[in-house]
Amino acid sequence: MPTLQKIMYVEDEPDIQTIASIALENIGGFSVKTCNCGADALEEAPEFAPDLILLDVMMPDMDGPTTLLEIRKIDSLVSTPVVFITAKAQLHEIAQYKSQPGVLDVITKPFDPITLSDTIRNIWENYHANV
């Protein structure tokens, strides 16, 4: 199974960005790069070369699904695993995107920052156990 070390989190809400990255770094031991929007993610992802991208669904300008489409146009990110993060109110809207290649799962907000790292590790392990 590939190692999960570098996580990019694309999220427009600063509060959530902060608490999630602190939790992922300190509980999960991951290296985390946060981006405020899809455009930032497209710019920074090639260099950061994440093992996994956490992608918020509802963002202004470019939403999560659109960001994913753009990410897939970048050669080095064509198969980078993605987990969508969405509000429970949007959960049914994301159903169609779950079946896209490389989309491992969907995490709903609000999430508990303390268990977020375990959730992500489980998703990662389940995915790789089934490939």
Partner: protein
């Protein structure tokens, strides 16, 4: 760089307090939107802003320990969402429900 567990928990606690410190601002936003809608029920911009605000509150507040607030914001978000998606304003029929949900949400700020 990793912190010790104690440092980490302290930092989480600080984040929770900082989030709590910004709640009065959010309450003010809520009240100002309520005022706009009271003055003009068909103010669609205000309704859209209220949708954004409840969406953010619903999705974030529980991560900082405000579970009740998150639940009430979610209820109001779910009520407004179909209106916003269909570009419909509040009307006399939906106003009562909106007010009830809004009042529950406002109350949950102090819980």
């Amino acid at each position: 760089m990793q912190m010790s567990d104690k440092e980490f928990l302290e930092q989480i606690e600080e984040l929770k307090q900082s989030y709590a410190a910004h709640l009065p601002e959010k309450m003010q936003q809520l009240q100002s939107l309520e005022k706009s809608l009271d003055e003009n029920l068909t103010n669609f911009e205000a309704l859209k802003e209220l949708y954004q605000l409840t969406h953010k509150l619903a999705g974030s507040s529980a991560s900082f320990g405000f579970t009740e607030l998150s639940e009430r914001a979610y209820e109001l978000e779910m009520f407004i969402k179909p209106l916003v998606k269909k570009s419909e304003a509040l009307d006399k029929n939906s106003f009562e429900v909106y007010k009830t949900l809004l009042n529950s949400l406002k109350k949950s700020f102090s819980e």
